[in-house]
């Protein structure tokens, strides 16, 4: 039976990062965009853990905790902003955020 090599995990990490990036670029619902950003960070986390495991070095696994904490804080601020914007404008779609233009 073929064993699961690190390449599988790295491929998954790149895939998650790419899917997340695509979501940020093409989705118009700002909530989904925030979720896609989280997906990108999760891709980063998987790559970090994989590298950490392969290289027998614990710094990567440690880094993951910092990333998770920061991501949680970022989402907290982002959701607060989204709620405030929704109260003002009754929409969280990016095509409605057009007040700032020349």
């Amino acid at each position: 039976m073929e064993s699961v090599t690190p390449h599988y995990f790295l491929f998954l990490a790149f895939l998650l990062f790419g899917v997340g990036f695509l979501g940020v670029v093409i989705r118009r619902n700002l909530l989904i965009v925030l979720m896609s950003l989280e997906l990108m960070l999760n891709g980063v986390n998987i790559a970090l853990v994989t590298f950490s495991r392969v290289g027998l070095n614990l710094d990567g696994s440690l880094f993951v905790f910092f990333i998770m904490t920061v991501a949680a804080a970022e989402v907290a601020v982002g959701l607060a902003l989204l709620v405030a914007l929704y109260k003002k404008r009754q929409s969280i779609f990016s095509e409605d955020a057009t007040l700032l233009r020349n």
Partner: protein, 514 residues
């Protein structure tokens, strides 16, 4: 165990006392705001924050000029690298945050926004910025960067009653988070290479305490494997993440919108501190860990710098809104500063002439920008985000001091001879010549010539008499009638103008290094 010894032998916390003081001061300001009921009328916590930061700035200047002879040292097990350059950067950020607090104090009272949180977040962001530019480990760099970014997200959206401010906050958050994930991915790729025990050089570089995220180890490794694909991708992604923060093209899309929507003191904070932090970090990186890959980085930065200069200047010409115009002219300034970064890569060492030219230019940019933004924060408009050229008609005649300070600030940004901005640009050109960056130099000179067009359009409105008013015109709203409570802003305007003029003639402590 060796790494733990310094903790027991010396008091390491003293090495970061300015940051600790700022964080504690931020908490005190918040507490005063919380428990002192009349705070929103008297603005006591704002005054407290200003006094606190002014005192800290004075003490810090004394600390590294007189009391301690600063020498380069690694602290916190290699998390921070402190020294003279780091102290200069710290003073820079303290000065910027003091000015933001002073401009913000009147602005908050006038627009009846909450006081305590503003100063709290400003001080915390500054503490993060100070740690960021001293970090010598990618973990520290990431955490400090995010500490700064989170404060800025909240500050940009500070005016929750205004849809524009909220929209700017959301846009800044999305682009900021996107840029941090790129930066992180770059760090992960570098880590992936560095943590590999099989990589070329791993056996004879710092073998017993291998710390793959520290700048030192990565620097050695990158020098040995500078054409490794993963390393190159990682470097490119890290630089892309930082280019987002400094607003370099092609990552400048957020700049005009966010500058447009955020409250005026925060626009100033973004355009000076946030940008300066990006440059200081980039400087530390290209002179430290990435120095070995300069063959790859130089063409990349050259392309980015040229594109940034042209884009910023041409786009600024087309703007009618002054905040957007200043944002895009800031993009152009970022392009000029990237040329200084490239020049510093050409010179050996990490404390060469180009570094001091970059510091001088940043300082001059701080002085000029804050003069301009302080005057803009005085204007009394219906919508504070919509400053247009016509609002400044005949300002020099109505209020000579304010008009003069504004003209000096704009002149210094444009780089007209009697002002410090001219010397900054001249020094930049001279180091670029010395490093042989002729192409970027040409782009820079063309860019400066284009920039004169939009800066002078503004000066013309301020200095020359207002257009004749006909009876059937609807009366124009005069933004400069209700100038109350401006003694503190007048004081900083006088100081900033004097500094702009004096540094145009005499470069003071910077003069020795050129």
């Amino acid at each position: 165990m060796e790494a733990y010894l310094p903790f027991s032998q010396q008091n390491l916390w003293f090495e970061i006392w300015p940051e600790l003081c700022l964080a504690i001061g931020a908490l005190i300001v918040l507490g005063v705001n919380l428990f002192y009921k009349a705070d929103s009328q008297t603005g006591f916590s704002g005054k407290l924050a200003i006094l606190f930061q002014a005192g800290l700035l004075v003490f810090h200047l004394f600390d590294y000029l007189a009391w301690h002879h600063t020498f380069d040292r690694d602290t916190f097990s290699g998390m921070l690298r402190q020294g003279f350059q780091g102290d200069v950067m710290r003073s820079f950020f303290l000065l910027a945050s003091l000015l933001v607090s002073i401009i913000g104090h009147r602005y908050l009272l006038k627009h009846s926004l909450r006081i305590g949180e503003f100063h709290h977040l400003t001080m915390l962001a500054t503490a993060g910025l100070m740690l960021l530019c001293q970090s010598s480990h990618f973990l520290m760099l990431f955490v400090a960067l995010e500490c700064v970014a989170l404060c800025f997200y909240a500050l940009v959206a500070y005016n929750r009653e205004s849809s524009k401010s909220l929209e700017a906050g959301i846009k800044y958050l999305l682009f900021g988070a996107l840029s941090s994930s790129f930066l992180l991915f770059g760090i992960v790729l570098l880590y992936g290479v560095a943590s590999n025990p099989e990589i070329w050089g791993a056996s004879f570089l710092g073998s017993e305490l291998r710390d793959p995220l520290s700048f030192d180890y990565l620097g050695d490794l990158i020098r040995e494997n500078s054409d490794h694909l993963l390393i190159r991708t990682g470097i490119a992604l890290v630089i892309a993440g930082i280019a987002f923060k400094i607003g370099a093209a092609p990552f400048q899309i957020w700049v005009p919108d966010v500058y447009h929507g955020s409250p005026m003191p925060i626009t100033a904070f973004l355009s000076v501190s946030s940008k300066a932090a990006g440059f200081f970090v980039l400087l530390n990186l290209v002179n430290g860990p990435f120095a070995g890959a300069s063959d790859f980085i130089l063409p990349l930065l050259g392309f980015v710098a040229t594109f940034t200069i042209f884009f910023g200047n041409l786009a600024a010409c087309a703007q009618r809104n002054l905040k957007r115009m200043l944002g895009l002219s800031g993009v152009a300034h970022a392009g000029y500063l990237l040329v200084a970064i490239m020049a510093s890569m050409h010179f050996p060492g990490d404390s060469d002439r180009a570094v001091w030219v970059l510091f001088f230019y940043m300082f001059v940019y701080l002085v000029a920008s804050f003069a301009v933004f302080a005057v803009m924060s005085l204007a009394d408009l219906e919508d504070d985000n919509e400053h247009e050229f016509s609002d400044y008609e005949g300002l020099a005649k109505k209020h000579p001091l304010i008009g003069f300070a504004l003209v000096c600030g704009i002149g210094s940004l444009a780089g007209i001879p009697p002002f410090a901005g001219f010397i900054g640009k001249l020094l930049l050109i001279s180091v670029a010549l010395e490093a042989g960056l002729y192409f970027s130099l040409g782009a820079m000179i063309v860019g400066v010539v284009i920039s004169i067009f939009y800066y002078f359009g503004w000066i013309r409105e301020i200095v020359f008499h207002p257009r004749p008013v006909f009876n059937d015109d609807e009366p124009k709203h005069d933004a400069w009638t209700k100038l109350t409570d401006i003694s503190m802003i007048k004081f900083i305007l006088i100081v900033l103008t004097l500094v702009s003029l004096v540094f145009g003639i005499w470069q003071g402590p910077f003069g020795d290094t050129f």
